[in-house]
Amino acid sequence: MSKIDIESFKIELRRGTQILIVLSQLSEKEYGYSLLEKLVAKNVNIEAGTLYPLLRRLENQGLLISEWDTTESRPRKYYVISELGEQVLEDLKNEWKEINNEVINIVG
């Protein structure tokens, strides 16, 4: 099997978990790059090109709330989790635990 195939399987597997991870880190407001740094510091593997569009999509779906801060020299767009986002995060956490158990039981 070629290397590209393996990579695309890995990306596929990670995709769903990224939403869970991002939601879990936005109880305090963050902007794109600060969130990226926070995730990298916690050893979470996510690319900038994946994270930035994801924030925007989650905002469109109502899971995040955004706000432009123009008081500093560089205007930044901050994101924070919404009420709906909190509910979804709870559900996703439980789902993740179940998946984790199921997979570990089967695959070992």
């Binding site: 902007y31 794109g32 790059y33 600060s34 990226l36 690319e47 900038a48 090109g49 994946t50 930035y52 569009p53 994801l54 925007r56 999509r57 469109n60 560089r74 205007p75 930044r76 767009k77």
Partner: protein
């Protein structure tokens, strides 16, 4: 403001809906500028931009609305309908193209007419296929956009699976076909070359001799080469049938091609204005005490009946071949 960064941002945002461009651009700019510590260091900027990926794929991740005309759930239905429609329209285009071309061609010599007719028929088929393609595609785009997406189905609605394929070609049939094709083909070429000896008003006093030949012998001799080509095509179809013993795509294409060529050559042959020897018509009208115009009309009716039968018969033959033999391969 850095030029490379601006170029990158432009290349991403130009692919996005108008109303989101500015916002996405501003956000992307801040994030990129935060990622590069020193915005005069070109190498560092390049590294950051490469880590973000190509502008196309980044824009694609930003996009929330769908960017396809026909969704993947409808794709197989779409291809299925498209295939059926194009096959049917292809045959229809062939027929009408042939009729149209034979009525309107401008050339007077045989090869000129042949080339002109083939070119017009191909043009006609291409234009009708393009129209069919466009119409089917537009209908599916409309269905995809305006119909309610429901995936309700019932066991009762499931289609019958097709019966076991019968793609085999009878060997005996192919061999006898080959024998008859060779024999009759050779005879036809021979009598075409000597049409002045074999067709005409026969004088039956004692020995049979053709007194007034039916065809212009120069005209029929001009067609020997073209009919020889169609004969070679027919023979190769028979040979490949024997070789493959089953229908396949290559064979079907060759078969279709040979049928089209033979119909076109025959029709061009029959429609030629020099086909009938005018002295023959005079001779017949004198011998049978008929008007010249009546004899001419009778011959014309006869010619057009043969043309009609040839076109109709070959089309039925081709359609039945495609539908019977290829339903199983294509599963259309």
């Amino acid at each position: 403001m850095n030029k490379i960064i601006e170029k990158y941002i432009y290349d991403v945002t130009r692919r996005l809906p108008q109303d989101t461009r500015e916002d996405v651009g501003n956000e992307l700019r801040t994030n990129i500028l935060e990622m590069v510590q020193d915005d005069n260091n070109e190498e560092e900027i390049k590294k950051v931009l490469y880590s973000l990926g190509s502008p196309r794929s980044l824009a694609n991740s930003y996009r929330t609305t769908k960017k396809h005309l026909i969704s993947s759930e409808l794709m197989s239905d779409y291809l299925h309908v498209l295939k059926l429609v194009l096959i049917i329209l292809g045959v229809v285009g062939l027929v009408f193209g042939l009729i149209d071309a034979l009525q309107t061609h401008e050339s007077t010599n045989v090869f000129g007419i042949f080339i002109e007719v083939v070119a017009m028929v191909i043009g006609n088929i291409i234009s009708i296929l393009l129209r069919g393609f466009a119409i089917v595609t537009i209908i599916f785009i409309l269905i995809d956009n305006y119909s309610e997406r429901k995936d309700v189905w019932k066991v009762e609605d499931l289609p019958e699976p097709p019966k076991k394929p019968t793609l085999a070609i009878s060997r005996a049939g192919s061999i006898s076909g080959l024998v008859f094709t060779v024999i009759f083909g050779a005879i036809w070429l021979y009598v075409l070359y000597y049409s002045n000896i074999y067709f005409g008003w026969v004088n039956t006093d004692g020995v049979w001799t053709v007194e007034q030949s039916l065809f212009n012998v120069e005209y029929t001799r001009g067609f020997v080469l073209l009919f020889a080509i169609t004969l070679i095509l027919d023979i190769s179809v028979c040979a490949f049938k024997i070789k493959y013993t089953k229908w396949n795509y290559n064979l079907a294409i060759l078969y279709t091609f040979s049928k089209v060529v033979s119909v076109v050559v025959s029709v061009v042959f029959l429609l030629g204005s020099n086909l009938i020897n005018p002295d023959f018509i005079t001779k017949v009208s004198i011998e049978l005490s008929l008007n010249v115009s009546d004899v001419t009309r009778f011959i014309d009716i006869f010619k057009y009946s043969i043309i009609g039968l040839a076109i109709f018969g070959n089309i039925v033959d081709l359609i039945s071949m495609y539908f019977k033999q290829f339903r199983f391969i294509n599963s259309i």
